[in-house]
């Protein structure tokens, strides 16, 4: 809300500096946002919260200042003298839907001279950055900025017939507004119409046909109340925001509408002449009587934590325009002023007292009770995951949760469903709630490649949104990564991660197919039979789709599975201090035999002396071993808990392993 310093002084004598004024109103809730000089006046920018439409006019702000600085407030009485025939002789107003328009006040003035506004008025509007049009239009804007009640002046001669109606627009109804653009109206929009058609979009903008011009002599002055929601819906859909719609969206003072109408007529008669018709038309119903609200003084201490003396409470509420209905011991009952529709509960009065009494009276060193708080297991696991990821040289990324449909369709490891979509794209072309974080990381990878950044090692801990029927989606945290390492390199990161969370858990891999990943170098990872996630080399087509120059690997792990397997508080166990014995084995096996299978057989047949099995290498010698065979080199490490092993014992374990592999896997020992 832009405010003219001079204008404010029409209603009270501010004997404080602008800076002090701005400081005080800021501390009362009218946030000072800046100021500048316009001509010989000062323009202040005060931010008005949506609960205080009464501050959307100079009188409202002056009213607040009168409380803060304890000054008398002078509001013009807005008295007018009618000399013309009764308005009801030639005009009627019908409201089709009182829930949209509870009341509509019309006055008419005939024989005005439309021309330029006097200089003082033009300057006032100028200070607020409002265009100066002609005296009549300027006066409606002036009163709007004075009391916050929107007004509209129609050229009465352009109103067809004798009746105007506030009604819903017809489907397909067209309307040319003052801006000379034509708008297509819909059911649900509301218009003010004459017998022929709409003359205004109610509460939003008047029509070009009935606008007041130099040729206008007779006026219809509209002062009405329109409901917030339809005004907002219409003004947003048509992208027609006006000072009027802004105020109707926040609510006008139903008991000041007639004052605004009179004030407008008073100024027109004064500056443009003419003859005011006798009376006014008041369509709709009278405002409901305001209800009283009781404040129990004990609530102040209970909510604010400080005592406020009873006489101070009464003084504040009374100065704010509340009518004191009764004062009893420890409670006070008031009827809030007409402009404060936001005051209808006890707690609202608590806030008023606190606001004016001053929040600086509330101490910042109260003895808050101590309380234990436990860091959640999920948080602990995530923190350990992050530590491990950065130790692995990965940088944490944060990418948008909403992606394009191409990206959303790029990986389907977690869900085959179509992604959920939002009605407004987050950025152009991106409206899908992601099913995987990988495409976003690949997007980040491409951007980094473009900058020749190297290495590009990224991870993100973020959610995917898997659709569920008739319910909120299944939101799952993922640990996603993209790397320049090869398949085994990234698999090593994952295995290290899992091992660091629980050294006893084994990750198994099985072949997995998805268009994002290479046909061969792709797998589903499992722990204890549960899907942990997916890992693979980017397929050639995906590399192309994401415009990547270099090959890349990706992996995505379900954080909840990691959480479940994590040992948060590791336990000590005694370990053997006797030396280890190792044996290297070189087995010829079928090409299709996987390491997982081989290792399982080795582990099962080695017995309890086995400490670990380490993969070394794979060789192929088709001349010696024949086609479809490979040589797998690995090392077993043996240790006993209670003695130093002998070479013979180690050989016996090796022989057991070889026998089992020969029998179960058709393997053959070399060398």
């Amino acid at each position: 809300m832009l405010v003219s310093w001079k204008w404010l002084n029409d209603y009270l004598q501010l004997d404080v500096s602008e800076a002090e004024f701005c400081d005080r109103v800021t501390m009362a809730g009218l946030n000072y946002d800046g100021s500048e000089s316009v001509g010989d006046d000062r323009q202040l920018d005060l931010e008005v919260t949506s609960n205080r439409p009464d501050w959307l006019g100079h009188i409202g702000i002056a009213r607040e200042a009168s409380v803060l600085f304890d000054l008398d407030l002078q509001i013009p009485p807005a008295q007018v003298t009618a000399t013309g025939p009764a308005i009801s002789d030639y005009l009627s107003v019908t409201i089709a839907d009182e829930s949209f328009c509870p009341r509509y006040i019309a006055r008419t003035i005939k024989g005005v001279t439309v021309g330029p506004s006097p200089q003082w008025l033009a300057r006032r509007l100028d200070t607020l950055g409002i265009s100066v049009i002609n005296n009549v239009v300027d006066i409606t804007n002036y009163v709007l900025m004075e009391i916050g009640q929107p007004l509209h002046a129609f050229d009465l001669a352009k109103i067809d017939g004798s009746g105007i109606t506030v009604r819903q627009a017809h489907a397909g109804e067209k309307f040319m507004a003052i801006d000379h653009k034509t708008y297509d109206l819909e059911l649900g929009d509301y218009v003010v119409a004459d017998e022929v058609g709409a003359v205004a979009i109610a509460g939003v903008m008047g029509g070009a046909d009935s606008e007041v011009t130099e040729a206008t002599t007779d006026l219809l002055i509209e002062a009405a109340q329109f409901a917030a929601l339809p005004v907002r819906t219409t003004s947003r859909r048509l992208k027609l925001k006006s000072d009027s719609s802004y105020r109707f969206e926040r609510g006008v003072d139903p008991e000041m509408i007639d004052w605004a109408s009179r004030r407008c007529c008073e100024l027109i008669l004064d500056m443009a002449g003419g003859e005011l018709a006798e009376g006014s038309i008041y369509a709709g119903s009278q405002p409901q009587p305001r209800k009283s609200v009781t404040l129990r003084l004990g609530q102040l201490k209970r909510i604010l934590g400080i005592e406020v003396p009873a006489d101070e409470v009464e003084r504040i509420l009374s100065r704010l325009g509340n009518e004191i209905e009764s004062v009893a011991s420890q409670k006070i009952t008031v009827i809030p002023p007409s402009w404060r529709r936001d005051l209808d509960r006890e707690v609202d009065l608590v806030e008023e007292v606190a606001r004016i009494h001053g929040y600086d009276k509330i101490p910042q060193d109260a003895a808050v009770k101590m309380s234990a708080s436990h860091r959640s297991d999920a948080d602990r696991v995530r923190s350990r995951v992050r530590s491990l990821m950065i130790a692995a040289g990965m940088n944490e990324a944060v990418t948008r949760s909403v992606v394009s449909s191409e990206w959303s369709a790029a990986f389907h490891g977690w869900s085959q469903s179509e992604a959920l979509t939002v009605t407004i794209p987050m950025v152009r072309g991106e409206d899908c709630l992601r099913l995987s974080v990988l495409p976003s990381l690949l997007g980040a990878r491409r951007m980094n490649e473009k900058f020749d950044n190297s290495p590009i090692e990224l991870y993100e801990v973020a959610k995917v949104y898997l659709p569920r029927k008739d319910d909120l989606p299944d939101e799952r945290y993922m640990v996603s990564m993209t790397s320049g390492r090869d398949f085994r390199g990234l698999k090593g990161v994952i295995e290290t991660l899992v091992h660091s969370l629980n050294p006893t858990v084994r990750v198994t891999a099985s072949r997995f197919s998805d268009s994002l990943l290479d046909v061969e170098q792709a797998c589903e990872l499992k722990v204890n039979g549960k899907t942990l996630g997916f890992l693979g080399l980017l397929s050639a087509s995906a590399q192309k789709q994401f415009e990547l120059q270099q090959p890349a690997t990706v992996a995505e792990l379900d954080l909840s599975v990691l959480e479940e397997l994590t040992v948060l508080i590791p336990q000590h166990f005694d370990f053997s201090t006797y030396p280890v014995m190792t044996r290297d084995l070189n087995l010829v096996v079928d090409e299709t035999l996987t390491w997982d299978q081989l290792e399982a057989t080795v582990s099962a047949s080695a017995g309890e002396l086995l400490e670990k099995v380490e993969y070394r290498e794979i060789f192929r010698d088709t001349q010696k071993d024949g086609a479809g065979k490979k040589r797998v080199l690995f090392t077993i490490t043996l240790r006993a808990a209670d003695r130093t092993l002998t070479g013979e014992e180690a050989d016996a374990v090796r022989d057991n392993i070889v026998a089992a592999c020969e029998k179960q896997l058709d393997a053959k020992l070399l060398g």
Binding site: S373, M394, N448
Partner: protein, 342 residues
């Protein structure tokens, strides 16, 4: 002789041996080396020989440990001698070694990653609030009208519910609590916690929130919030101010003044903006207030029995101010040169 004394003597012996053998190498002098050899390893009166005599004086129980240590020291001194011999013989030309070891060559760096500054900020805020007794909780990012608006005292006609100001999901996507949307605030989590828990409650809810906005240097349609909630039978605005004061003090590392300015939020009454005084200016910290009775009623609490406060902070603003990030888009571009700075 006690074991400790014996070991101390051995340590002194090693230190002086290192010094003497290094001197020989540095001077490149065979005579010095020979003198050092005799001094330490001499068969008759070398210092090692003398030390060995001390071994006999150690108590019986300490003998194995003392013997082990003596052998280590002996081995070490022999290594020093051999290494010195090798170095002197390497270049018989008399000058310094032909392959000089350059200790100033760069080390082999570890490729260490970096935690995103937003995560670091969130972790720090969570940590501080944790110390004040507030447990961190999370909730769904996709919410329904009930949790995002209704229960928070934001009625249908409130401008915050405008479909153009929210990421609603396409029609057909409906949950028990009405139309679904990407949550526009983390207060939704507070509702979920209160629905399931009885007071006292002390939580911080945090995470991603979403509001349609043109993306520029200061706006992003996705951002992070952290919100605190405390409910009990006797929570007041003085508690709110004091908790925020402790919070600000801890975060900034020194005392700081807290100021409340009146404001408006549908879910709190009274509502305030919180400023903190830093380097002689008031910085906006976030919004706060006493939980509105309508919110307490919506979750089944009796506002005559319990009171509470809530506050919310934008994580990005704190993070950007703390790290001097001048454009919010840096945070989400994921340029590794940016990420590596934190």
């Amino acid at each position: 002789m006690s074991l400790n004394d014996f070991i101390r003597d051995l340590d002194t012996l090693v230190d002086s041996a290192v010094e003497r053998f290094n001197e020989a190498v540095d001077k490149f002098d065979g005579d010095v080396l020979e003198a050092a050899r005799v001094e330490f390893l001499g068969a008759k009166s070398g210092k090692l020989k003398s030390a060995q005599k001390g071994l006999g004086k150690v108590g019986k129980d300490d003998k194995p440990a003392a013997g082990k240590r003596f052998n280590e020291v002996k081995q070490r001194i022999e290594e020093l001698f051999e290494s010195a011999v090798a170095k002197l013989s390497q270049s018989s030309g008399g000058g310094p070694a032909s392959e000089a070891f350059d200790v100033s060559l760069p080390g082999a760096l570890l490729p260490v990653g970096h935690v995103h500054p937003i995560t670091q900020t969130i972790e720090e805020l969570k940590d501080i609030m944790g110390r004040l007794g507030f447990a961190a909780v999370e909730g769904p990012e996709i919410e329904d009208d009930w949790h995002n608006f209704e229960a928070l005292n934001i009625p249908m006609e409130h401008p915050a519910r405008d479909p153009l100001d929210n990421f609603y999901l396409h029609a057909g996507a409906k949950a028990a609590g009405g139309d679904m949307l990407l949550r526009s605030q983390t207060s939704t989590v507070q509702i979920r916690v209160m629905e399931e828990t009885q007071p006292p409650i002390r939580i911080v809810s945090l995470g991603r929130v979403y509001r349609p906005d043109e993306i520029d240097a200061t706006h992003y349609a996705m951002f992070h919030q952290i919100e605190g909630l405390m409910i009990d039978t006797d929570v007041t605005m003085a508690d709110l101010k004091s908790v925020l004061h402790l919070f600000a003090k801890t975060y900034l590392g020194q005392d700081v003044e807290i100021r409340f300015r009146p404001s408006f939020f549908p879910f709190t009454e009274p509502s305030v903006e919180v400023d903190m005084r830093w380097n002689d200016t008031w910085l906006e910290f976030g919004g706060a207030g006493m939980v509105d009775p309508n919110v307490l009623r919506a979750v089944g609490y009796d506002p005559e029995v319990v009171t509470g406060f809530a506050f919310g902070l934008g994580v990005e603003r704190l993070c950007m101010r703390r790290h001097g990030v001048n454009d919010i888009r840096h945070l989400y571009n994921n340029n590794v040169r940016f990420l590596s700075q934190f």
